[in-house]
Structure formats: structure tokens, C-alpha cells
């Protein structure tokens, strides 16, 4: 049930943000992860606050699934003074030290080297915490991907590379930019195991993640976990996706990881419709409250950002 709630929380938040963004209430731009919730939830459900995740520009889902509080999250998206990052970052660099979100990154592939250090730090300190680096199929062609996989394997770091393969890197389809079609194949080239799973099945993702976690915590080193999924919307909120064939979009939208999971829960007797709807209602209320909180929050006073440049 917790899995359901986590996924739905992401879904409803992203839907709400799309709406609020279209209303012109958020500065800048956002990248929603609707359709990919199972990956975020499947992975993060196995983690504790002591574990750290690094995510991408499409990081809301991972961040919320990891457990970041909605109010500081919203306040940051709205660019307010009391946002988690003092309003300095907004959507693309949202972070939460308290819940182990090492930061969303606006540079494709840049989080990978940083996640190496986090894993290194865990091992150095003798903790059994792990680090998870989320990235997309597009990032798997950046130099940083290759450098990071090599070093992680070489140093046996407690690091899990989670590739959210939704078939699209910005505006280009995977077939046009890569020779191979399964990114997990690359793991072998660097000396670590690589798994490919159905990214729309939250239970399958969780199981694969548990395997990778066991390896990492046992000191057996990194794993590359490729989750194949669908990106329902464009690269950024408002993207008309003219580059994407219409049937490709339609097909994507037929696979709804949440709807599927709800059906599973009901069919196997874990919950009934009313319970699921109640969760939904509760989440919507929580989200609306967070949005009201963010809207009412004060903008940062003039020049406050100067305080965050140096110690």
C-alpha cells in the first residue's frame, strides 16, 4: 500500500504542478515525470534517509519518492525564501539533506561522478548506507557515465546506477542516438552486473533494486539497473512534442503503472476502491495545502542569495 501511496503522491503532485505551471505561477520551467512513477517508487522504497540519491532535471518523482516533505519542496519550486534551497534553485536543483536527496542536476550526466563521491564517503566512514544515481538513457552517452561506471566498479563502491530508459533523450529518440538498444549491456564493459527490468511494474523494479542493494551493502560493489518505461509528456512542461510520432505518445499513455498497480491491489485483495480513493483524496488535500503554503510564502528579500555563495 505504501508503494501505491508513494506513486500516487508523485503522480498527483506532477499533475498539479503542470496545472500550476500552465497558470503561470511558477518561474522558469519544469520537467515532469508522469508515467515513470514506478521507477522512482520501486527504487526509493528500498532506501532509508541515510541513503543518498542523486537525480536529474526530471527529478521530482525521485525526490518525493525518497521522502522529501511537500512544503519545502513546493516552496522551492515556487522560488520562495523558505524553499529547501532558499529559492536559489527551483525545480532543477531541488535537494533535501534531511531525507537524503543529494540534489537534482541540470547538466545531463553530471550527477554520476558526484554519486561516486557519496558512495566513497559511505564506505570511508564505514557506514552501510548506499548511494543511488538516477539518470536517463540520454546520459548514458556522456563521458561522465563511462568514467563513473569504470571507477565505481574499480573501487567497488556501494553505488547503484539506475537508468530510467524512456526511449527519449530531450527531443531525440534512442534509436537515433545509440547503436545498441539496451543500456544494461554496457555494465559488462566496465565490470559490473547489469539488469534490465520493466520500469512500469513497481514490484519488479523493487525486486531488482533489492538485489542490487544486497550486493552493495555486502560490499560487492555497484550495479547498473536499467528500467524501461514511458515518458507521457514532453521534455519540458508545455513541450508540444512535435518531434514524436503521435502513436508513440498514445502508446505511452496506455501504460499506466499506477492504474495497473491499483488493479493488482484490488484483484489480490490488498485494498478496495474506496481505500484507494481515500488515499487519493488525502494526497490531493496534502498537495493543495503545500501549494497554498508555497503561494503564501514570502519571496526572498533583496540580495539574500548573496549569502549562499560562500561560507
Amino acid at each position: 500500500m505504501e508503494l501505491h501511496r508513494s506513486m500516487l503522491r508523485v503522480r498527483r503532485t506532477e499533475e498539479k504542478l503542470q496545472q500550476v505551471f500552465a497558470d503561470g505561477k511558477i518561474p522558469g520551467f519544469i520537467h515532469v515525470s508522469i508515467g515513470q512513477e514506478a521507477v522512482a517508487t520501486g527504487v526509493c522504497s528500498c532506501l532509508t534517509p541515510a541513503d543518498t540519491i542523486f537525480t536529474t532535471h526530471r527529478g521530482h518523482g525521485h525526490t518525493l519518492a525518497k521522502g522529501m516533505e511537500l512544503k519545502p519542496f513546493m516552496a522551492e519550486i515556487f522560488g520562495r525564501a523558505n524553499g529547501a534551497c532558499h529559492g536559489n534553485s527551483g525545480s532543477m536543483h531541488v535537494a533535501s539533506a534531511a531525507t537524503g536527496v543529494g540534489g537534482a542536476n541540470g547538466i545531463v550526466g553530471a550527477g554520476l561522478p558526484i554519486s561516486l563521491g557519496s558512495a566513497f564517503g559511505s564506505a570511508f566512514k564505514g557506514e552501510d548506507s548506499v548511494t543511488v544515481a538516477f539518470f536517463g538513457d540520454g546520459a548514458s552517452n556522456q563521458g561522465t557515465f563511462h568514467e563513473s561506471l569504470n571507477l565505481a566498479a574499480l573501487w567497488n563502491l556501494p553505488l547503484i546506477f539506475v537508468c530510467e530508459n524512456n526511449g527519449w533523450a530531450q527531443f531525440t529518440s534512442q534509436k537515433s542516438y545509440m547503436k545498441i538498444d539496451t543500456i544494461a549491456r554496457r555494465a559488462d564493459g566496465y565490470g559490473m552486473p547489469g539488469l534490465t527490468v520493466d520500469g512500469d511494474d513497481v514490484l519488479k523494479v523493487r525486486d531488482a533494486m533489492r538485489q542490487a542493494l544486497a550486493r552493495a551493502r555486502a560490499g560487492e560493489g555497484p550495479t547498473l539497473l536499467e528500467c524501461k518505461t514511458y515518458r507521457w509528456f514532453g521534455h519540458y512542461a508545455g513541450d508540444p512534442q512535435k518531434y514524436r510520432p503521435v502513436d508513440n505518445v498514445e502508446k505511452a499513455r496506455t501504460v499506466d503503472c499506477i492504474a495497473n498497480f491499483e488493479r493488482f491491489l484490488i484483484d489480490s485483495g490488498f485494498a478496495d476502491r474506496q481505500q484507494l480513493d481515500a488515499v487519493d483524496a488525502g494526497l490531493r488535500a496534502e498537495i493543495d495545502e503545500a501549494i497554498a503554503y508555497a503561494e503564501a510564502a514570502p519571496a526572498a528579500p533583496t540580495g539574500q542569495f548573496l549569502n549562499d555563495v560562500y561560507a
Binding site: 534553485s89 541540470g106 553530471a110 554519486s115 566513497f120 574499480l154 549562499d308
Partner: protein, 323 residues
């Protein structure tokens, strides 16, 4: 005081800081058993073990990014990038990630790390191994940049950098590695952000850093023989810049020359000139003159022709004095 070579002073700083703080780790290519390409990390692996002294593959972005992740986790990494010319290889990690960590995350995470890299020409290392790129990094908010000119400052600035809670780029000068100087015995820290007046004078101020400090002092002797009394300021830190020392000196002399080994155009001299002109134009009795290298990559064998030297500084000082 002990007479110490510049590279040895750096090595001493690393030994001392690693002994003082168990969170200080050294990461880089060939820093372990080989003791560093120039010997800067000699003896560290033996003293502190391979958990704290990490040799890496040739992967600058991964190395520097790893340092950031580790710093975010509470460690104090000191990364060695073999040549400052390789910093462009990992620019994203330095500029977009490290420099902006504290800012982007509202202080939830910080990056108390050090990147050491030798720059500069004079050893015929060619265009890709001889550059002075300090102006690039001085331009990045969130980063601190220091350039030691003497062994004492190499040691003191590196120690301060390691203890600093902000990311610091230490640009050493490879042609100074073999130079010697007096280094204080015992704990020796040089504050970041404070320039040092190497020679007091009243007729013209020369602001300089790194290897050019030595050329400036040589030029000052020549100029003294001509009756011109020169004040030489060794910046030591570029960011934060010690504006006050510069402005007080120019108020006294009313003439300013800035000398750096880097290409003259768009170098740190441009920033200092603009700053002084903006803040105290009515204290200037002559134009501000910069001495720097010509607008060309560093040639392999014509370095003598290419590099600015004491004679160039003498000419510049004469120009402002005789204006």
C-alpha cells in the same frame, strides 16, 4: 625558518593537514605510489594508507566529481589535477557543480574541497601544458582561487585552503616547484584573501601574482637604480581579491602597473584596472598599464620571446612614471 623548496613546502602542508584531520583525503592520478607527477604527494601513501590516498584512472570529471560527492558527505578531499591545462576537461564539475553546490542547495550541502593544479610556462612544455588560466576561475562565484609565489605561501595557502569551508583552486606554478625560500617552522597558515606587500615604494604600484612576483622584484631593483621607487604587491589570492591593499597603495603612488604571465587580454589585469579606475579615478596620475603575454598560445621553444619578464615590467613602470 627553514630554506625549503616550493614543491616540498606543498608536500609538508599535505602531510601536516592529513595528520591533523582524518577526513582529509588525497585523490588524483599517480598521487599514490608514484608520489604525484611532480612529487607533491610523496610519502603520503606510506604515511596514511590507501584508504586516504587514492590513485585514479585518467578520468578528470569523475575524479573531481567524486571529490564533490565525498565533500558533501563530510570529507575534505584534496584533488590533484596534473596540469592546470586539464582543468577544462572537468570544467562542468568545477563550474556547474562544485562552485554552485552551496548556492543551489541553500547551504544544505557544501563543498569544502581543494583542487591543486600546476600552471604556467617556462619548461618548454608546449601550448597544452603551459597555460595560466586563473582568469577563467576567478570569474566563477562560489570558487576561491589562490596563486602562491613563494614556498612559504605555497605551504600556508594550501593549509588554509584545506581548512576553508569553500572550494579552493590552488594554482601552483610548475616553474617555481624547484625554487627555494624561507618557510616558517611550525604551524604556518597564510590567510586567503590577503595580499602581501613584497616591497614598499612611493612612485608606482605593481600588482602581480605567482611567478611574475619575482620578475617584478627584479624590475624594482632596476627601477630603483633609475630613481624610481616601486611598491610590489603579491596578490596571493585572486578571489577573494584584497582590494583594500591595492587601493591604499595606488592612493599613495598614483600610478599602477599590473603584471601577470597570463595572456594580457581579458586577464586578471583587466579586472584590477577596471576596479581601480572605477573606485578611485581621481587618484590616478597616469594611465593603468598591464603587462601580460601576447595573444597567442604558449609556443614550445620560443618561451623567452613570448613570456613577459622583468624588462617588460621596467618598461611599463617607466611609461607611467614618464607619462
Amino acid at each position: 625558518m627553514t630554506e625549503t623548496r616550493y614543491i616540498k613546502a606543498i608536500n609538508e602542508a599535505l602531510h601536516e593537514e592529513m595528520a591533523r584531520d582524518e577526513n582529509v583525503v588525497v585523490i588524483g592520478e599517480d598521487v599514490g605510489a608514484p608520489g604525484g607527477a611532480f612529487g607533491g604527494t610523496r610519502g603520503l601513501l606510506q604515511a596514511f594508507g590507501d584508504k586516504r590516498v587514492k590513485d585514479t584512472p585518467i578520468s578528470e570529471s569523475a575524479i573531481v566529481g567524486l571529490a564533490l560527492g565525498a565533500a558533501m558527505k563530510g570529507l575534505r578531499p584534496v584533488v590533484e589535477v596534473m596540469f592546470a591545462d586539464f582543468l577544462p576537461v572537468c570544467m562542468d564539475q568545477i563550474v556547474n557543480q562544485i562552485a554552485k553546490t552551496r548556492f543551489m542547495f541553500g547551504g544544505q550541502f557544501t563543498a569544502p574541497l581543494v583542487i591543486r593544479a600546476p600552471g604556467g610556462a617556462g619548461l618548454n612544455a608546449g601550448p597544452q601544458h603551459s597555460q595560466s588560466l586563473e582568469a577563467w576561475f576567478a570569474h566563477i562565484p562560489g570558487l576561491k582561487v589562490v596563486m602562491p609565489a613563494t614556498p612559504a605561501d605555497a605551504k600556508g595557502l594550501l593549509k588554509s585552503a584545506i581548512r576553508d569551508d569553500d572550494p579552493v583552486l590552488v594554482l601552483e606554478h610548475k616553474a617555481l616547484y624547484a625554487s627555494s625560500g624561507e618557510v616558517p617552522v611550525g604551524e604556518h597558515l597564510v590567510p586567503i584573501g590577503k595580499a602581501e606587500i613584497r616591497r614598499f615604494g612611493k612612485d608606482v604600484t605593481i600588482v602581480t601574482a605567482s611567478r611574475m612576483v619575482h620578475h617584478a622584484l627584479e624590475a624594482a631593483e632596476t627601477l630603483a637604480g633609475q630613481g624610481t621607487d616601486v611598491e610590489v604587491i603579491d596578490l596571493r589570492s585572486l578571489t577573494p581579491l584584497d582590494k583594500e591593499t591595492i587601493l591604499v597603495s595606488v592612493e599613495k603612488t598614483s600610478r599602477l602597473v599590473i603584471a601577470h604571465e597570463a595572456v594580457k587580454s581579458f586577464g586578471i589585469g583587466a579586472e584590477i584596472s577596471a576596479m581601480v579606475a572605477e573606485e578611485m579615478i581621481d587618484g590616478l596620475d597616469a594611465p593603468i598599464v598591464r603587462v601580460g603575454a601576447p595573444f597567442s598560445p604558449v609556443p614550445f621553444s620560443q618561451e623567452k620571446d613570448y613570456l613577459p619578464n622583468a624588462a617588460d615590467i621596467v618598461r611599463a613602470a617607466e611609461k607611467v612614471v614618464n607619462f
